[in-house]
């Protein structure tokens, strides 16, 4: 029965995607991509990916809408008429779709236990997690320990993207800012919307608390550094929307943000190096404690904290860089 719901939601997802591309108004596209993200998260949840759904929730519900809107506020709200080569592109795309659909007939059936994906490493991960790391959430175990290198790489990609945005935009108002009548965050914030302001301020501590819960409960339930970083960044962005960007910068200044970006990635790397110093491999946490299982758990806790710190720092720096660009 859940599978029928899944089909229905996937169809809604397709309709939303078509509407996003169809709409000439960029603002409408952004609103619809917010809906797209909600539907995608529900689909992930129905496909048994609770961790992924939580990530999509943390990132898609607040942060991606805010970033897209602040970019729209600086650039334009409508797109011009589409190019003349529409038919050609449509034909190419339809042919490619048909080819892809033809290829799916050879794919294993949905959720087939005999599919090649389920034969090789996954059973090993599921077996060994209890023995080697002894935490309930296999996803976190694979993320932090079994595939630690991979995650280190991803953290550095996030780090590089944050540095790239800071290099591109800096922290100074841009030349267009003088004449730009739109900007997302006012220095005064939402002062004269009393009710949203009061309720929003009430929510901020709970979002922060929930972020910390997701961060440190990630070994036991859905969660971890990536989700927690996005949630905490969302809380600070909410504060910036309510009280004005300057107040948010007083809470976490730019220098601290840069420290967070570098510090989290560095923390992750240093934990890896500790493995080498203690006579084992890079990112092998077993040697961190006399008991290998305890060492693994300790290593996971520290690297998740590093991931959370970097993600928070990067997302907040990006938000502030965009917001400063639209300043008067």
């Amino acid at each position: 029965m859940t599978i029928i719901f899944g089909f229905f939601l996937l169809t809604l997802l397709l309709i939303t995607a078509v509407a996003i591309v169809q709409s000439q108004n960029l603002f409408v596209s952004v609103m619809l991509s917010g809906m797209f993200s909600l539907l995608l998260a529900v689909n992930f949840f129905l496909l048994d990916a609770a961790d992924v759904a939580l990530t999509e929730a943390a990132v898609g519900a607040g942060i991606s809408t805010v970033l897209l809107l602040s970019a729209l506020a600086i650039t334009a709200k409508h797109e011009k008429a589409p190019s003349s080569s529409r038919e050609g592109a449509l034909i190419i795309v339809i042919i490619a779709t048909l080819v892809l659909i033809y290829a799916t007939f050879d794919n294993p059936q949905f959720a087939d236990p005999n599919a090649p994906v389920h034969q090789h490493v996954a059973p090993w991960y599921l077996d060994k997690t209890a023995e080697a790391i002894d935490i309930p959430n296999v996803v976190t175990a694979v993320l932090g320990s079994f595939r630690g290198y991979d995650t280190l790489g991803e953290v550095f990609v996030v780090f590089t993207a944050g540095i790239g945005v800071l290099f591109l935009l800096g922290t100074q108002p841009g030349p267009f800012a003088q004449s730009n009548p739109y900007k997302l965050t006012d220095p005064k914030g939402l002062r004269h919307y009393l009710i949203p302001r009061v309720v929003g301020r009430m929510l901020i501590p709970f979002i922060l608390l929930f972020g910390l819960y997701v961060q440190f409960h990630g070994e036991y339930g859905p969660g971890g550094g990536f989700q927690a970083g996005a949630l905490i960044a969302a809380a600070i962005i909410l504060f910036a929307l309510l009280e004005g960007e300057d107040s948010a910068l007083k809470v976490i200044p730019r220098s601290v943000l840069i420290g967070l970006i570098a510090g989290g990635a560095l923390l992750y790397g240093v934990v890896g190096l500790f493995g080498i110093f203690l006579g084992s491999n890079f990112l092998d946490y077993s040697v961190l404690s006399s008991n290998p299982v305890k060492g693994q758990q300790m290593g996971l806790l520290i690297i998740e904290a590093g991931v959370g710190i970097t993600v928070t720092g990067v997302l907040l720096s990006i938000f502030h860089a965009f917001a400063a660009r639209g300043k008067f």
Binding site: G6, A17, F36, A71, A89, T104, F110, P136
Partner: protein
């Protein structure tokens, strides 16, 4: 039932191509980025679909389901990180678009090419 078993892959294919269509046809750079994120979401959906197992549940072991079947954790790990990386790279793209707007005064591809001539 045969066809229902591959419906998820069809959704993936159509979604991927909707994203590609937006990237090809739309001249507005922000719209292109939104199209790119649709493309990305299609790939996420494919991975997560592949990880689903009949009768399985999310790979978080509790006392109640210690001996049960679990869906494949590996695609979930890959996609979990990819979502956060995706938003960071989209922000980088938006940063470049903002710089283009400041230099050229427009974010329409044809107008930019006109200015560059």
């Amino acid at each position: 039932m045969e066809l229902l078993g591959i419906y998820h892959y069809w959704v993936f294919a159509i979604l991927l191509m909707i994203g590609l269509y937006a990237v090809i046809v739309k001249l507005n750079l922000i719209k292109k980025l939104i199209g790119l994120s649709l493309f990305q979401s299609a790939v996420f959906l494919l991975y997560i679909t592949m990880g689903k197992l009949e009768g399985g549940t999310a790979p978080i072991v509790t006392e109640a389901n210690a001996n049960g079947l679990f869906s494949n954790p590996l695609p979930q790990v890959l996609i979990l990180t990819a979502i956060v990386v995706g938003i960071s790279t989209m922000a980088l793209g938006l940063g470049i678009v903002i710089r283009i707007k400041e230099e050229y005064g427009t974010i329409e591809e044809d107008e930019i090419q006109e200015i560059d001539k």
